[in-house]
Symmetry: C2
Subunit: 357 residues, 2 copies
């Protein structure tokens, strides 16, 4: 480890000076030197169940204490094969309910003595490169809020790394999943808008590489078709405020007037759409036009907006994800499970809603 190895059983001062010169942490080699035993003896002392004499154990523990040596997590992970780290793989850190989810996951895993190692993807599609890095860190499990291919799922399974898909859906594969039912949510809001007499719909949708955004968009269109209403005018958004504002302008410019209702792919776009309708176009919302969101983020409840939206029970979903992964990490043979949560309608002040039917 060093060029000039001091003799065994050096003095504490010598060893501390050496550590200082080399600007490094106390290692098992330092403890071995102070205790006058081999490094492997020190190692055995910190290995559960390993054979070591009482006298050696006592000398090593005394030396470890004097040097303030802690067998590090990396070293322990080689012994226990646990890093006590969970990878959180997310495609979009900027999502407004992300802090809420992260906070809950951090709290839940913290109670299990585990920490979250963060892997933020440059974009939803960029998973392969990130996974190579995940394997390097030997995490005990993963929460994946990004789209996985069947090959990537197989790679998790082959490596024996338990994982839970969070609010992502993988059709045709049985994987452990926590999800909010986007189809049901879309049906719910469209039905209630239709029940209030809205006929001409527009939709500002989310990013094309987001599976959830596309599921919401498809489900809105499908429900309108079921109800015998015209297909919605679709304009592209990317989940941010500015794209909601642009979307509102595009809808009006393409239709030549406002539609009866605009369903937005998330709350932030709905807020941008609403601000533009009210403050730029002086439209009466919900008198002349209904606007709805998706997600139920905190900001949607602020008095200036009081947005009519669909709330995903994010905190419960985060808790369920950590419970599910926790169980998987203890017993890998648990079969795949899908826990499907339901969104609820938040009856705000930006849409006229009829009764549920």
């Amino acid at each position: 480890m060093t060029n000039s190895t001091p003799p065994l059983s050096s003095s504490i001062a010598d060893i501390k000076a050496l550590i200082g010169r080399e600007a490094r942490r106390v290692t098992s080699y330092d403890v071995a030197r102070l205790a006058g035993v081999s490094q492997s003896a020190v190692s055995r002392c910190f290995k559960p169940g390993a054979s070591v004499s009482k006298a050696t154990q006592a000398r090593v523990m005394k030396a470890a204490q004097e040097l303030d040596y802690i067998p590090n997590a990396a070293a322990r992970s080689l012994i226990t094969r646990r890093s006590n780290q969970v990878a959180l793989i997310v495609s979009n850190l900027a999502t407004l309910h992300f802090p809420e989810v992260l906070s809950e996951l951090s709290r839940q895993f913290g109670q299990r003595g585990m920490r979250i190692l963060l892997f933020a993807l440059p974009s939803e599609g960029d998973v392969d490169q990130t996974l190579a890095d995940v394997w390097q860190h030997q995490v005990d499990g993963a929460i994946v809020a990004a789209r996985l291919s069947p090959a990537q799922v197989a790679e998790f399974e082959r490596r024996g790394v338990p994982f839970v898909l969070f609010n992502r859906h993988l059709s045709g594969h049985s994987v452990n999943t926590i999800v909010c039912d986007q189809v049901e949510a879309a049906r719910l809001i469209v039905s209630r808008l239709a029940a209030a007499g809205h006929k001409r719909f527009a939709m500002i949708d989310g990013p094309h590489d987001s599976a959830i955004a596309q599921e919401r968009t498809r489900s809105v269109a499908a429900r309108l078709a079921e109800l015998g209403l015209a297909a919605p005018l679709l304009v592209a958004g990317n989940y941010d405020y500015a794209s909601g504002a642009r979307g509102m302008r595009e809808v009006v410019s393409r239709l030549g007037r406002a539609p009866d209702a605009i369903v937005c792919g998330n709350d932030v776009m709905a807020i941008g759409c609403l601000d533009t309708a009210r403050h730029e176009m002086q439209l009466d919302v919900p008198g002349a036009l209904s606007i709805t969101g998706f997600d139920g983020v905190t900001q949607a409840g602020w008095l200036s907006y009081n947005l009519t939206t669909l709330r995903q029970p994010m905190q419960s979903m985060a808790m369920a994800a950590s419970d599910m992964l926790g169980a998987l990490m203890l017993d890998k043979s648990t079969g795949p499970e899908r826990r499907v949560f339901s969104a609820s309608v938040v009856e705000g002040a930006t849409a006229r809603l009829g009764p549920a039917f």
Copy 2:
């Protein structure tokens, strides 16, 4: 490692079956069995500069490839003494600009091949217990967005873990710090409000255990005193929307009328204060009352608010923090540095401001 150790040089099928039965990852012991060498020979093959014969090296590499063995990060960290992980220690995940900061830090460290390990504190004061956990994970460095005591700073130094204080200030100690000048920011907004003729001030302050919140409050009061104006009416807030709304009601109830200006300790409270003033009390903002925030979060710029506030250059600060920590991790002898960023006034539509002086 196992009860029934197969003989050296087992077949690939035997070894894969064993790994499957034990539901574990491929280890250096498996590679050793397949290559017919000792585990320590495998270990030496993956250790830079270690002595190993060409023939052994070739056998081990072939076996490693056949078993798809990757020397794990934990094992490498024992050799290189690097975990390629940076601790992010934060007291408040719910802060609205946290996603922006986290996103930038994740991107910056990602470019250095490093990942963020998250340590969220239950409260600003709860650092000691968290630090014990940080040491266990043997991170290469830390970004600390929480208050440290001098003893805790000394502990980082003693352990040789480089760290950067992020938007926290430690008086009387030279530590590497990225900070936004809260005193200057408070002076700036008070001066410009005073220049527009505001005389009676109130302030909704932040949590009492937040050093930044207290620095903002003290600085507002100090600048008012300098200008010969009355001390502000102080009401307690806790950085959230509801406490801004409550604060507005408390100010009016204690004064019997609205003051000229309410300076809020952050943007979210200012938004709550503003919504309550306008929608609950029908007050004209900024005609009858000016309201200002602190931070410059995205939401403050939404059309319904267009908040007059102070913007902290969070992205630049996050970039500076990762640059600084990156440099420290390469050369620990760099002396302590404090990089102080300035907030700028966002001239929104919720306050009457005079010229800067």
